[in-house]
Structures are given as structure tokens and as C-alpha cells.
Amino acid sequence: MTGSVAAERVAAARRVASPARRRRRGGAPYLVYLVPSIALFAAVIALPFGMNTYTSFTSWTGTGPMRWAGLANYRQLVHDSEFWASIWHSVLLVAAMAIVPAILGLLVAAALFDVIAKRFGQRIASVLRACIYLPQVLPIIVAAIVWGWILDAQNGALNGLLRDAGLGFLAHDLLGDPKTALLTVMAVLVWFQLGYPVVIFMAALQRADPQLAEAAEIDGASWWQRLWRITVPQIRPEIYVVLLTCTVASLRVFGWIFALTNGGPGTATQVPSYYSFQSFFTNLEVGYGSAIATVMTVIIICVSAVFLWAQRRNEAS
């Protein structure tokens, strides 16, 4: 009874909500819901962003008078090998914070949701998910203090373990060696980042329609086929969100470098974020720091634009 009434109403709604009508209105009555954000956004983001961009064209120590310098800061950037090294390290960090965690996270989430939750119980799956998510709840400064101590060349737990196991020849100053420093930071970042895609993907799997996968299973599709052809397309919005936020997070890595390596040894783990920070507060070159931050911003905007474009194209198809 109720069902037929609802069905009628839905059918009527479909007739009313023709695309042409919706487009004509352009959502104008909803503008009022954006007003608080627009005011806050202008004061906290837009204005400071504009000021920073202006500063990037000046020579300024942060205290004295500001001198217009035109493109001098940017010209200096192009010839700065430390800057290019930092950009390259950012690219490598995208692998450690976005690509590897997303792939691993999808596999872990699918294993937890599809196999472990269904055959061993929701409780076990929840506990495992919580364990893997745990690093994500830590303040970065705390996690970095812990890892700094574990990886410490003399007192570190890792080298201590190796020596105790009679493998002392494997003990190594991982963060102090330019060859291994960045790889070590990358490994720590995978440890830190993995829980985020796992939780997001598991929530996505709950949302996905189980009947499709059921039907595919009955039709004889393997677990891999179902994961790749049924599940992944269904949770594509979440995959975009995870890849985008993780990529941008990896382009902005600061706390880890600040606490673990200070960008060293040499420039082995230098990243743009930390480089700009050094320019601001150590070298007192506020104009140069602003220029680095501005370049970072442009890169991040471009990456976001590409993701958004891909996402819209996907939604449209």
C-alpha cells in the first residue's frame, strides 16, 4: 500500500524534476547556505594567500622594509639545485603516501570486508582495521619522536634488535646515510598513511551494492575479477578522494622532515615545504620562502585540477 503511494510520488517527482527546469534555476536560492563560508574563507584563506603571493615578488627579511624585487626570487629558484632536489623528493613521496597506500589499502579493505568480516566475523575485521588505522590517530610529532628513537643509530631499537639477533653487520644509520635516508622516510610514511585508505575504502564497500558482486559470484567471477570489475568501479568516488588527498598531503610533507631529518643529510630528504620554512625562519628570506610556497601552491592546484577533471569525466560517463 505505502509502496505504491511512494512509487507514484517518485514517478511524479521524476516528471517535475526535468533537467531543463533545474538548470534554469541554477540553484540560486541555495546561495544563502554558502554565505558564512564565503566570509570566513575570504578572511582566513584568500586575503593571506594574496599577501603571500605579493611577498614572493619582494625582498623582505620579515622585519625591515619590503623591497619590490620583481621576478628575482623565481629566477633564483630555477637555478637552485636544492629546490629541484626537493621537487624530485616530493614526487617520490607521492608514491609512498598515495600510490602504495591506496593499492595496499584497497587489497586490505577488500580482504577485511569480503573475506574476514564474512567468514570470521565483523568483530575480528573491526579489530584488525583499528590496528591498521592506529598510526593515523597519532600526532605526527609523536610518531616522528617514536621513529626517530627506533631508527637512532646508537640507541635505536632497530639496530639493537639486529645486534641482539647476531646480525650486527646489518645495523645501519638509516636516517644518517644519504643513500637510505629518503627510502627510510618513505617506509615510515607508508606505515603512517595506510590506515586512511583502508577506513575510507571499507566505508565505501559498505555503501556499494552487494547484489552486483553476488550476481557476479554466481556467474563464476573470481575474487580478483569481482574486486577489479565490480567493486572498484562502484567505489570510484572514494578512490578519487583518497588519491587526491594523499597526493596533496605528500606534496605538503613537513612535520616528518622537521622532526626526523631536518632535510638532511645534506639535501637528501629536503622537501619544498621544509625548504620554504627554512627560508622564512632560518635564512630570513621571506620573499624567497613565499616564492617556494607559491610554486608549491601552483603545483597543488594543477594536480587537483587534473583529479577533478578526471572525476567529473568519470561521473559524466
Binding site: L40, A203, G220
Partner: protein, 300 residues
């Protein structure tokens, strides 16, 4: 429950006795299932090792550490390191500050996110893509690029070294992300439902609170938890803005000690334990809400 019975109905309807060469029967614990369980469990254990090391050493007596190093299980329960650290940092006050700041930001940012996502995802305002891009940029802008001007402006309006300044800044930054995620979710919101409510005479505001918010509650809960934890963990801007001891958050209080106490691994562990404890407690509390929200969503 619903999903399982639906699956069984589907299978029953499909008829018995057909071969499934690749598909495994459900709820059967074959070797592959056990292998998966073991693999994921080992994975989880590796993730937990650093936590175990911190706990072991935070309560280890100094003498034992000196003789055995960081790996052995503690022979006693020594809270000297923890107590020393608590007193020297005025940790209780830092905890209070962090709760205040993170709680305010989480609530305000979720509120802002709903309002924005309603306008963008459901209202489909003209130019919404560009507005969304602007919010994304706001969330992704490197804080290093905002910190100098924000510092300057906060001093001008008298908000420097106040918790309010940090609350305002992070509410905007977190809401920018929330807007992006929620808009993405709400743009797939069943429009028939909205139109049906509209035909029943519900206004836009009523539809938001009576239909959109209740149905999106699992996502909103996830956002609330994320905002709280992310704000709690923020380090860079609070370090710049909360200079006086009485305003400092937990990460800033810990960061301020970096270099002074790192020499002693036991104090390091104690600091790390105290630093991670609150977030883990919050997470365990939220974990139940998360699971409940998710199962409700699945049964629906």
C-alpha cells in the same frame, strides 16, 4: 542480516546444483580464507610494533633499560618517566586546550561542511565546480604559504596567541575538505527523495535537517572523527600561534621539548605514550560509533 538473506534468496532463486568453477561458497572457511586472515593479521602486528616499543619502555625501570636496552619486557612498573614528563610540561592543561580546540573545530567544521555541500551537491549552484575548486585549494594550500600573513593579521586584530585564532583557522581549513567530500557524496543523493519531500511541502531548510542530514549521518560521523583527530594532531600553525605555555596544545607541548629530552629514551617513550594516549582513547570511543553508523547504512 538483510544483505545475507538477500544473497541467500538470490542463490535459492538461481536454483541448485550449478557449478561455480571460481566462486567459493559463502561463509565457508577454506584455506584461502585462513591465509588472508593470517596475512592481514601479520600486517596489523607489524603496524603495531612501534606502539609496543613505546609502551614497554615508558614503564621500564631505568636500571633495566641501562642493562638490557629497549627490547626486553619491563620487569617492573615504573611511572617515574611519565610523572616527570607530566609535571614538567603541565600536560593536564595542554590536554584541556587540545580538547577545547579540536572539539570546537570538529563541530563547527561539520556544520559549515553540511551547509556548503547542501548548496553545492544538492542545490547545484551555478559555477559550483569553481566554488568546489576554491574550497579544495583552501584545504590544500600549504600552510607555510599562509602562516606569515595570518600571523601578521592575527596581531592586527588582537587574536594572536589566542585559542580562538587557531579554532577559526582550522574550522575553515577542515570545512573546505568536508565540503569537497560531502558534496561528492550528496551529488549522488537520490533526487526522487528530495522531490517527494518537496511535493509534501517541505522547505529547503527542513529538507536539509529532516532528510539530508539523517541519511548522511554515517558520513557526517566519519567527518567529525577525522576533523577532531586531524585538528588535535596539527602542529605547524599551533606552534606559531600559541606561543604562551597556558595556550599550548599537546603536540606543541611535546614539540617544545624536542631536543631537550630526546637524550633519554625512557623519557622519550613516556612523552610518546602520553602524546598518543588521548588520541587512541578518542579513537576507541569513536570506533564504536563508526561501526554502528556503518552497519546501519548497510542494512538500510
Amino acid at each position: 542480516m538483510t544483505t545475507i538473506s538477500a544473497a541467500e534468496r538470490t542463490r535459492a532463486a538461481a536454483g541448485p546444483g550449478r557449478g561455480h568453477p571460481l566462486g567459493r561458497p559463502r561463509r565457508r572457511r577454506g584455506p584461502a580464507a585462513y591465509l588472508t586472515l593470517i596475512a592481514v593479521s601479520v600486517f596489523a602486528l607489524i603496524v603495531l610494533i612501534p606502539f609496543a616499543l613505546v609502551i614497554i619502555n615508558a614503564i621500564k625501570p631505568q636500571a633495566q633499560y641501562a642493562s638490557q636496552g629497549p627490547l626486553g619486557l619491563p620487569h617492573g612498573f615504573d611511572t617515574t618517566g611519565i610523572r616527570t614528563f607530566w609535571d614538567t610540561t603541565d600536560f593536564g592543561r595542554a590536554l584541556g586546550n587540545s580538547v577545547m580546540i579540536s572539539g570546537s573545530v570538529a563541530l563547527l567544521a561539520v556544520l559549515l561542511s553540511i551547509l556548503n555541500a547542501y548548496a553545492l551537491g544538492i542545490g547545484r549552484i551555478r559555477g559550483r565546480t569553481w566554488i568546489l575548486v576554491a574550497f579544495l585549494i583552501a584545504n590544500f594550500l600549504p600552510q607555510e604559504g599562509l602562516v606569515y600573513p595570518l600571523y601578521y593579521l592575527a596581531k592586527r586584530v588582537g587574536l594572536y596567541d589566542t585559542q580562538l585564532s587557531v579554532i577559526i583557522i582550522f574550522t575553515v581549513i577542515q570545512a573546505a575538505f568536508g565540503t569537497y567530500l560531502l558534496t561528492s557524496v550528496l551529488s549522488t543523493f537520490p533526487r526522487e527523495l528530495l522531490e517527494a519531500a518537496r511535493m509534501d511541502g517541505a522547505g529547503r531548510f527542513r529538507i536539509l535537517w529532516r532528510i539530508v542530514v539523517p541519511i548522511s549521518r554515517p558520513t557526517l560521523t566519519v567527518l567529525l572523527v577525522f576533523f577532531f583527530i586531524w585538528t588535535w594532531n596539527e602542529f605547524f600553525l599551533p606552534l606559531v600561534f600559541l606561543v604562551s605555555n597556558q595556550n599550548q596544545t599537546v603536540p606543541v607541548a611535546l614539540g617544545a621539548l624536542k631536543g631537550q629530552h630526546l637524550m633519554n629514551p625512557l623519557t622519550t617513550s613516556a612523552a610518546a605514550l602520553l602524546g598518543m594516549f588521548p588520541t587512541i582513547v578518542f579513537f576507541l570511543i569513536f570506533q564504536r560509533t563508526l561501526t554502528r553508523g556503518i552497519t546501519v547504512g548497510a542494512v538500510k
